[in-house]
């Protein structure tokens, strides 16, 4: 049985080397990979084709140069990085990429792809609660378009049965990831923020049943010993993503453990299962209209704050840190509501800015340090 440290090293290796992960998959299966842009892409359809869905989330500390020609400075940091990488040809070995249209930036980005691979664009319905039935029908139709285009590009047939199998694989993986997050909270003295992140980030680059196996192995290794007492502070993080690794190290240096997250890159992608339905595409559609608590999923009830506050209670968290992706207006709109709700619930909170281009972290270090001291 491998140790916790050995397993974490493997997760880190995968998280830091997506190309290697893709090449290994290709060598093993003889099939290729499909790029999954943020956010909420039903990657089960890709998995059902036997291809590797591989997450596209920019890159850490990537200097933006070429992308300046195609994007004004007020496009979000994540998409600036994605644009820079596509101009460098980083995504050209993918068989295709899939883009949603969930925000104004994505609606434009998916019309100006400069990579060499084909692009599949689809739109999620947003009237997800009041017109749920109609939204499900529309969403299913859009997913059927994604499926048909994938079949055309990958020259294969994707059956209902195959998608159902993939949904089962994904639900199992989601359950494993949720369990890992809970165990990581319990073993806060052991699981460092950057390690937790590596486990969840690797998810984007691995065939999901393999990721599930590795996560389960990790949970077993972790729980073989009793949880040591954690003496630091317990925080929940919210936002699109929390990178680069240096930022996560700042959490650790200041005695902060991440006991739960509300990150699009992490828990928002696995906190809810896809429901059962004889029609697999309808099951995926229903998962979208049932889903709650993401800035990109319209809901005038705005349950996100409530959900985070409930998690604060559940995980006995001391505070919430909002990791605001630079120029991400959907998240920026949620923030003023969140801080009112946190204040009413007496939850200390801090906002930090996420800029993928950043290489200097002194300012954020000071802010987190000061915040940790007052907790």
């Amino acid at each position: 049985m491998r140790t916790y440290a050995e397993l974490i090293a493997e997760f880190k290796n995968i998280a830091e080397n997506p190309r290697k992960a893709m090449e290994a998959f290709k060598a093993e299966t003889g099939k290729g990979a499909v790029g999954i842009l943020p956010a909420h892409v039903p990657e089960e359809i890709v998995h059902a084709a036997g291809y590797l869905p591989i997450g596209i989330w920019g890159a850490q500390k990537k200097a933006i140069n070429k992308a300046r020609t195609y994007l004004p400075p007020f496009a979000c940091s994540l998409m600036q990085s994605v644009m820079e990488l596509q101009l460098e040809g980083v995504y050209d070995e993918l068989d295709c990429v899939i883009y949603s249209s969930l925000c104004d930036t994505l609606k434009c980005m998916n019309q100006k792809w400069h990579g060499k691979t084909p692009v599949i664009v689809f739109t999620h319905p947003q009237n997800r609660k009041i017109a749920k039935k109609a939204a499900n029908v529309f969403c299913r139709e859009e997913y059927a378009i994604v499926k048909a285009k994938l079949e055309d590009i990958l020259e294969c047939t994707i059956t209902n049965k195959a998608i159902q199998n993939s949904i089962a694989v994904y639900n199992e993986n989601r359950a494993a990831c949720r369990k890992f997050c809970d165990v990581a909270a319990e073993y806060a003295a052991v699981v460092k923020p950057a390690e937790r992140h590596a486990v969840l980030k690797a998810r984007w680059f691995m065939e999901k049943s393999k990721h599930t196996d590795l996560v389960n192995e990790l949970i077993a290794a972790l729980t073989a010993q009793p949880a040591p007492k954690f003496t630091g502070k317990r925080v929940i993080v919210s936002g699109i993503m929390l990178e680069p690794t240096e930022l996560l190290d700042v959490f650790e240096e200041n005695g902060l453990a991440i006991v739960a997250d509300d990150l699009l890159h992490e828990s928002r992608s696995f906190r809810q299962d896809v429901p059962e339905d004889a029609d697999a595409l309808m099951a995926l559609a229903r998962a979208w209209t049932d889903f709650d608590g993401c800035a990109l999923a319209t809901d005038a009830d705005k349950p996100k704050g409530r959900m985070i506050i409930e998690d604060c209670k559940k995980y006995n968290a001391d505070a919430v840190i909002v990791a605001m992706m630079k120029f991400c207006d959907p998240e920026e709109f949620d923030y003023p509501i969140l801080i009112q709700e946190f204040a009413a619930a007496g939850i200390p909170n801090l906002q930090i800015e996420i800029d993928q281009e950043s290489t200097v972290f002194e300012q954020v270090k000071t802010r987190i340090q000061t915040f940790a001291e007052i907790l």
Binding site: P72, C103, D104, M109, T123, A131, A134, I145, K302, P336
Partner: protein, 419 residues
């Protein structure tokens, strides 16, 4: 003196009806009828059929920008945690809403509200939003509904990644229209008035007809229409297309333009004053409307084209919900790049423009992020030069007059060289 629409000029009609709409909203409030705040290209047909008074936050924010009082409202929003990178229409409105909310909660008008030059409008009892021009309107209205704890009608008009508009797209929107009707019946406690709904739809079509008619005058050479005027008259196609106010005003404006043309009077007076014709892409810089206009006028550049006013070209068959769905979804910025660029090119072509002025509006990602591609397409197809300048619709901190004037000058030099 009592207002007489028969003798008033279109400009007088515009001012009168704009003020009247606000008064009517207050009157509705007084009588216990409902007031709805609406996104500018959300369908008003449903609410108006149910006798609900409408207020349009985007127009209200634009007005605040033009009156140079948006900054204090932006500051209120900033104080509430709204990032300065968020759309300035939204921030202006959310700041204003906060002032109204505080007034409603405390019974006292804050100094900022009392001294604001922005039109004084009532708080809404419900809101209606539609994302055919941006998804920002979904987030903004979520917050309005949450802050005020009021119903939110959403007309979700999915991005058309494929054109023409797909059948399932139209069906989904039509289904939402039915859901909105049901929601309104619940909110008002009354059965939906389908007869009035049809009449309102017919009214919208007449308003749109005259709005489109006005825009055609810019296609004449020289142009009797100063395109910048459309930015002002736009207030009524937004706020009053479901009423006869817009129709009356635009009909009158069209007659005035016809008479002007017949008399040999053009946008800048004598025909020789029209040296260049430009298409303006993007929302106006409301906080510097005069400066942006003069920057063009000083060079003899008449704005003859703009895709923005054309967003309200909402033609459909009254009584046919799917036709109405298509009209509200095929707004050019809600369509895929190739369709969007082609629509833009046709505007430039119809406007017989010699150059393009691209407003890189920091508030509007939906327009700004494909500006370059649109301009390059038109340039390739028609050989028309373009320049881009940095600006913002209602945040006065972004626009630089010096940069703007230099860019306009450069454009004029390119247009001159093309002659």
């Amino acid at each position: 003196m009592e207002f007489n629409p028969a003798t008033a000029s279109s400009k007088e009609c515009l001012a009168y009806y704009q003020a009247k709409l606000d008064e009517e909203a207050w009157q509705a409030k007084k009588e216990g009828r409902l007031v709805c705040w609406s996104a500018s290209v959300a369908p008003p047909e449903f609410c108006v059929a149910m006798d609900i008074a409408m207020i349009y936050p985007e127009t209200h924010a634009a007005g605040a920008g033009a009156k140079k009082c948006s900054q204090e409202l932006l500051d209120v929003a900033h104080g509430k945690g709204y990032n300065i990178d968020i759309c300035s229409y939204a921030r202006t409105n959310l700041g204003y809403m906060e002032l109204l909310k505080q007034e409603a909660l405390t019974g006292a008008k804050s100094e900022t509200l009392a001294n604001s030059k922005a039109s004084y409008v009532p708080l809404p009892d419900l809101v209606i939003t539609c994302n055919n021009i941006c998804n920002t309107l979904l987030k903004w209205y979520e917050n309005l509904a949450k802050e005020l704890n009021i119903p939110c009608i959403i007309i979700d008009v999915p991005f058309n990644h494929t054109m023409p508009v797909q059948r399932h797209n139209k069906e989904y929107i039509a289904d939402q229209y039915r859901a909105a009707i049901h929601q309104l019946e619940e909110v008002t406690g009354r059965a939906f008035d389908y007869d009035k709904f049809l009449k309102v739809q017919e009214q919208v079509q007449r308003s749109v007809y005259w709005w489109n008619k006005v825009a055609t005058y810019a296609g004449r050479v020289p142009s009797p229409l100063n395109g910048f005027d459309l930015f002002n008259y736009m207030a009524l196609i937004v706020c009053a297309r479901a009423r006869d106010y817009a129709e009356i005003t635009f009909h009158k404006f069209a007659d005035e333009l016809e008479a002007k043309d017949a008399a040999g009077q053009y946008a800048f007076g004598a025909p020789e004053n029209e040296k260049y014709r430009i298409t303006w892409e993007g929302i106006a810089v409301w906080t510097y409307l005069g400066a942006t206009f003069k920057g063009l006028k000083n060079q003899g550049a008449v704005m003859t084209g703009s895709a923005y006013p054309g967003i309200w070209n909402l033609q459909y068959t009254p009584g046919d919900l799917e036709s109405m769905a298509e009209a509200y979804t095929k707004v050019y910025i809600n369509t895929c790049g190739p369709n969007r660029y082609e629509d833009f090119m046709n505007i430039v072509k119809n406007a017989k423009s010699d150059g393009l002025v691209m407003h890189l509006n920091r508030s509007c990602k939906q327009m700004g992020l494909l500006n370059q591609e649109g301009a390059e397409y038109v340039n390739k197809m028609l050989g028309v030069p373009f320049v881009s300048f940095d600006g913002d619709q209602t945040d006065p901190n972004v626009f630089s007059q010096a940069q703007y004037e230099t860019r306009i000058q450069a454009l004029c030099e390119m247009m001159e060289a093309n002659k």
